[in-house]
Symmetry: C2
Subunit: 167 residues, 2 copies
């Protein structure tokens, strides 16, 4: 199934979704963060069909999130390794995990805890913050056009801003 | 198309993806954060087919992210309002936006800047942090089983942990 591409939309959220916002792609990236490297491991951990997995891995290689390397243990085996572009998805995955922990918990509680390796203490809850460190909710921010905003985007953000200051 | 549900997987990322990890759902939520409330507005901003939009909005209402209210301006019109569960997706959307700004930029630059309403300064880059404030990368954390981990999850995390301390 050919999906509609969101790239023509100026929004960076839409562009990010185009690359990583597919359900299986996000789970493949979660696996990569958990240390999975080989095709067979991805397959057994995700119980995913071979063709879907091959398709998602190929797209991730094409988009520069994974690179294929030779295994150090076994020179004939290929491994999928995360690039910096992939590693920088860490906050996206932690944001999803923390939201899931809170709003879609497993019946018996959180399955995974994420600890700072150095101190053994749990990571903090991810918050959007101001430069002075104050945590910000969605209602505490305003959107303004950046250099890449189209005329439509600009008009739209003005409307959004006016509405939100009135409410 | 009936999609495979990821809920049986213990992982909170998988559970979050089940609810919000669909391309259109993420864009509908982005619109809601931008202040869109009415069906026609979602449709014109997203150029989305009526049936797809109706389906995603209904799922978001069913999952408790949006609630239908009467418009204050026009009592006959319905509006979709975000619940707390939805508002708490703010870090997920900002994480996606910042990743997109960095790795999938629009040709002429960032389309949107997000400012702290109080000071007018830009929000900071979302970082995963330790309780003492140190920023953490994926390689700085370890995963340990939480109360909801299955026996499989536990065995798996042990392996992941052993591999990552060796590398």
């Amino acid at each position: 199934m050919k999906k509609k591409s969101f790239s023509p939309m100026a929004c960076s959220i839409a562009r990010a979704i185009d690359i990583i916002g597919d359900r299986w792609t996000l789970l493949v990236m979660r696996e990569a963060f958990y240390g999975t490297r080989r095709f067979g491991q991805f397959q057994s951990h995700l119980t995913i069909a071979t063709n879907i997995l091959a398709n998602r891995l190929a797209a991730l290689v094409e988009n520069g999130l994974l690179e294929i390397t030779q295994s150090a243990d076994d020179g004939r085996a290929s491994e999928y390794r995360m690039t910096k572009k992939a590693k920088d998805m860490f906050p996206v995955l932690i944001a999803l995990m923390q939201w899931g922990d809170r709003y879609a918990p497993a019946p018996s509680g959180r399955p995974v805890k994420v600890l700072d390796r150095e101190t053994g203490r749990e990571i903090t809850r991810l918050r959007v913050t101001a430069p002075d460190g104050r945590p910000l909710e969605a209602s505490d921010v305003r959107l303004v056009p950046g250099p890449g905003a189209s005329a439509d985007d600009r008009a739209r953000m003005l409307v959004v801003d006016r509405a939100s200051t009135q409410s």
